[in-house]
């Protein structure tokens, strides 16, 4: 840690800070959601009568956004494209770690690496466009506009800026500068993960992209993005429909609420 420059020192601290907020915040929410009892059965019927059926029901919501599909097709298309691109982009970023190989400072890349980069660009663009549609819809459709609050716009804008900053590295800076970032990024992240931090790539485009991601990560536990946890705990969806067959009883919820 001794030979970190000032900028890297700040970023290393911020990275640990954001990660800590994210992990603790999400864990707290999971614990709160899991521990809060549900006093009565409220499965939205027709509902599965078995646990396996309920798992399938929740999975169809998470993997296919089934209810949203039934409710509003354009929103489903945009929402689905956004979520899929976002997840793929996260996975691509992780995958870098396994694709890069370092030996004494020498980088070796597989021959299909350009394909990998292009996939990132395509999904980055898809992510941006779907977000743009969602933002546009939020501002245009009167029913959605009237319920939108500041944080709804904030999260869209943060995500769009992340996408733009990420894409800009592929379009606005020279190939050699990009390679320089690429070559230093994986060691930096490895350093963070192993608690032996090293200097951060100092390219400003990269720093903007990275800073926005830190903001997002730290903001998630306080935001509606927590739906990614909550969706597992929605009683109307995960509950089985068998109140007569099997007595449902939660002593810690007793007599307090319906």
């Amino acid at each position: 840690m001794i030979d970190l420059n000032f900028l890297s020192g700040v970023y290393v601290l911020l990275t640990y800070f954001a990660a800590a907020i994210f992990i603790i915040g999400v864990l707290i929410k999971i614990i709160v959601y899991a521990k809060t009892p549900m006093p009565v059965k409220i499965a939205l019927t027709p509902a599965p009568q078995t646990k396996a059926g309920s798992v399938g029901r929740v999975a169809s919501e998470i993997l296919l956004f089934k209810s949203l599909f039934r409710a509003n097709k354009p929103t489903w298309v945009a929402g689905y494209i956004f979520h899929v691109s976002f997840i793929i982009l996260i996975l691509l970023h992780f995958a870098r770690h396994f694709i890069y190989h370092y030996h004494n400072g020498v980088v070796s890349l597989p021959s299909w690496y350009p394909l990998f980069v292009n996939a990132g660009i395509v999904f980055g663009i898809l992510m941006f466009l779907s977000l743009f549609y969602l933002l546009f819809r939020r501002m245009i459709v009167d029913r959605v506009k009237i319920i939108s609050i500041f944080s709804d716009y904030l999260i869209l804008i943060i995500l769009m800026m992340i996408a733009i900053a990420g894409l800009s590295m592929n379009f606005l800076i020279s190939a050699s500068a990009l390679t320089k970032i690429d070559n230093r990024l994986d060691p930096f992240i490895n350093g963070i993960a192993t608690f032996h931090p090293i200097n951060i790539p100092s390219n400003p485009y990269f720093l903007v992209h990275y800073s926005l991601i830190l903001i997002l990560v730290a903001y998630i536990p306080f935001s509606k993005v927590m739906h990614f946890v909550g969706v597992f705990f929605s009683p109307t969806r995960y509950m089985t429909d068998n109140p007569e067959e099997k007595r449902y009883y939660k002593p810690n919820a007793k007599d307090l609420s319906l």
């Binding site: 709160v32 809060t36 009568q49 909550g230 109140p243 007595r247 319906l258």
Partner: protein, 496 residues
């Protein structure tokens, strides 16, 4: 029966459901009568707003959040995607943005963010957070009583966010600080005092049943009884109390009586548990729901029956099917062979299938029938053994009793049914315009089958739906005789 007033705004039926342009506050003028002192006190709530109510409200809110997973998650995870915005019949009818499910829920989330989230307490305006205030409670009292707890929104929400849960919690919080609704609290009080929602005392009930027996006798020439408080009967039948007094509800009671008579199954109604309905659920009060529910099981024990069968009532079936076992079970003193409770439609269809009773569907040949899925049945409470029995059983029963049956349009039917516009404790005349507005989507699709298929009979399985449609039909220019229960069809078709 509702009087037709000039101030009623009755939409014109075109057979189409249009999504209106948003008009915030369009239905703010329709308000419930506040709870009366004796009723509020009798069911455990303060009579009116007292000093320090804000703190008390926050306390109740907190307790609900820590004891109701649905409320807690639904406060947090709405992304305001808008998928539910055009799904509520009250929004479609009133155009008021506070009647969009998410608009309604945000009235509570604003307060939630203020007291229970860091952003809300730090940034207030920016986070759209607001403390409890009389103004806010007024809004709550208006819009949490323009929701019928029908759960259509939950069906379409990507997270299953159930605005009925939120509405119930809001009503519970309001009741806890002395802001009650006259209609529901009065009815709950009556149930505890007399045994049913209509406040019919036992002697009067017996008299009515005697009259009814005579009527049936005249019409059929058979000695068909409606027994009351008979110990040792096989079945305790619990109908909504409207089945004893209101029209067309009574026709269904006659139908039940004929089924029991022909099947040779001994049965009884009870003067103590003469009400299947549970208004405790409407106001989100676990305590009241449980107490009302308990009366039925206490009575089943006292009368030493083998099984409990429930009459045609939507929310009653929800409360009995879903909550009984949790609140007052287990029912090991009853016969384990049967579902406890059993829905009357399931019961009757079972007897038809077993060949115990026979139907002559041509007896209903004057009727061209359609069926309205009561939301509390379709989206909350199964009948029979299969996953969607609550959708298939009433239809099979209708088809066994009538030759001409047509479905309502997809998207307004089965699990996607619109509410009749008066469920959830809003079947009261002071909000008639809200009821009319809320009935509009369903009336449009009924109009469609009237025009295209010549439908002239709307079959129902819910006491509230029956009253609501009997009130709505004349307003929209239709004959109220075109509304009735599924067991009214059974009553005409059964071969005695």
């Amino acid at each position: 029966m509702a009087k037709i007033k000039a101030s009623y705004k009755v939409p014109i039926l075109t057979g189409e459901i249009k999504i209106p342009k948003v008009v915030p506050g369009a239905s703010a003028y329709e308000k419930m009568y506040p709870g009366i002192k004796e009723d509020m006190l009798a069911i455990g709530f303060p009579a009116s707003l007292e000093d320090g109510w804000e703190t008390k409200a926050v306390g109740i809110f907190k307790q609900l959040l820590t004891h109701n997973k649905a409320l807690k998650t639904y406060m947090d995870i709405c992304v305001r995607c808008g998928a539910c915005t055009d799904k509520c019949q009250f929004f479609l009818g009133t155009a008021d943005s506070n009647n969009m499910p998410v608009g309604r829920a945000e009235l509570m989330r604003r307060v939630y963010r203020y007291y229970f989230t860091p952003a809300g307490s730090l940034f207030k305006g920016l986070a759209d957070a607001e403390p409890f205030s009389e103004k806010m409670i007024k809004k709550w009292f208006t819009y949490y009583y323009q929701c019928s707890e029908c759960r259509r929104c939950s069906y379409f929400c990507p997270y299953g966010i159930d605005t009925a849960v939120i509405t119930m919690a809001a009503r519970e919080i309001m009741d806890g600080i002395g802001i009650g609704q006259k209609y529901a609290t009065e009815i709950i009080h009556k149930v505890f005092k007399i045994g049913n929602n209509l406040g019919i005392p036992p002697a009067a009930l017996r008299n009515t049943l005697d009259d009814l027996e005579e009527e049936i006798n005249e019409a059929t020439g058979k000695d068909i009884k409606i027994p009351m408080d008979v110990e040792g009967a096989e079945v305790l039948l619990v109908p909504p109390s409207a089945d004893f007094f209101a029209m067309p509800h009574m026709e269904s009671l006659i139908g039940y009586a004929k089924v029991f008579y022909k099947a040779g199954i001994s049965w009884t109604v009870s003067s103590y548990a003469s009400e299947a309905g549970n208004f405790g659920m409407f106001i989100g009060s676990y305590k009241n729901t449980k107490e009302i529910n308990k009366r039925i099981w206490d009575e089943a024990r006292r009368l030493k029956v083998k099984r409990v069968v429930v009459g045609e009532c939507g929310h009653a079936w929800r409360a009995l099917y879903n909550f009984s076992n949790t609140m007052n079970g287990p029912f090991d003193f009853l016969d384990g062979k049967y579902k406890q409770p059993t829905h009357i439609c399931d019961f009757t269809l079972g007897l038809i299938k077993d060949g115990v009773i026979k139907m002559d569907p041509s007896a209903n040949d004057d009727k061209i029938v359609t069926f309205h899925d009561s939301c509390n049945v379709a989206r909350a409470s199964r009948m029979g053994d299969t996953k969607d029995g609550q959708l298939t059983i009433p239809r099979e029963l209708i088809k066994a009793c009538a030759n001409h049956f047509f479905e309502l349009r997809d998207g307004a039917n089965k699990a996607q049914t619109y509410c009749c516009g008066a469920g959830g404790g809003i079947l009261t005349d002071e909000v008639m315009n809200v009821r009319i507005a809320g009935s509009m989507p369903k009336m449009q699709v009924i109009k469609e089958v009237m025009d295209n298929k010549g439908v002239n009979f709307l079959a129902l399985i819910c006491a509230i739906c029956k009253t609501q449609f009997t009130n709505m039909y004349p307003l929209y220019g239709f004959d109220k005789e075109m509304v009735g229960g599924v067991h009214q069809l059974v009553s005409s078709a059964i071969i005695l």
